[in-house]
Symmetry: C2
Subunit: 156 residues, 2 copies
């Protein structure tokens, strides 16, 4: 089954996560779970943004580190497994904004996802220094990597 899925998607970077996880969730649950991951990352991005971009909230290094850890751990958790066959359209109660083009370009998506992982790891490292300026720069890079995928593969 692993080789079939891998071949279907034409992916190599995704193979590890697919082998162990895709078959366990229905397409509907895969969509729900990937949206959950994005929602949770967005909340944590918002906390950091408030502290280093908007500066509407006092900088709290522990909270910024915790938020960065959440973003990076989700980004590196093998989300590719949540874009399995049958998840390219709405299923049951789940509405997806993933562009069908994504599923025809899984290697490109995997590369974009890898970029997010790297940028998120750099954000964790910046947060660990406690230096808001370093966090601001690293946060911007994470935002760019989010946007790169949204612009290509997220429907409005």
């Amino acid at each position: 089954m692993k080789s079939v899925i891998t071949t279907l998607l034409g992916g190599t970077l995704l193979a590890v996560s697919l082998s162990a996880a895709a078959a366990q969730l229905s397409p509907e649950d895969q969509i729900e779970t990937r949206k959950a991951g994005f929602t949770y990352m967005a909340w944590n991005m918002g906390k950091i943004k408030a502290q280093v971009i908007d500066e509407s909230v006092e900088y709290n290094p522990e909270q910024v580190s915790a938020a960065a850890n959440a973003i990076a751990a989700i980004a590196n958790s093998g989300m590719g497994a949540l874009f399995g066959p049958g998840t390219d359209q709405d299923v049951g109660k789940q509405v997806t904004r993933a562009d069908p083009a994504l599923f025809a370009n899984m290697n490109d998506m995997a590369e974009l996802a890898g970029n997010l992982g790297t940028a998120s790891d750099n954000l964790v490292a910046a947060a660990a220094t406690g230096d808001a300026s370093a966090v601001r720069v690293a946060f911007g890079e994470v935002g760019k990597s989010c946007k790169a995928c949204h612009d290509k593969y997220r429907l409005d």
Copy 2:
């Protein structure tokens, strides 16, 4: 505002996260976001369960570590901020299974949440050893800490 919210909830452990995050999300979005966090933790728990409890999937130390990291990072991300005023009942499109009793016992909830954080950190450490037996034990402790809160504060 920080002191008002802190006083309202009677919480001390939650104060740090509340000060910077609660006011940014509406009650509806807080419910959506906390459910997203739980959904994402559950998926990652499922991956580890399949590998060390059910043994229906071959043990993959990298994937188990990634899953453990996601669980721990979410558990330690300050979820208490997502249980703010107005989130003790369904709001808009969001249905909550949080028992109203939770909101009258925020210090107890914070302690249970702290236990989850500790158990999750131990799971990360076990996963880093690559020893499936150690992961199995640590996974069981995380499961217990999940259940302790569900039994007390989650409606069926």
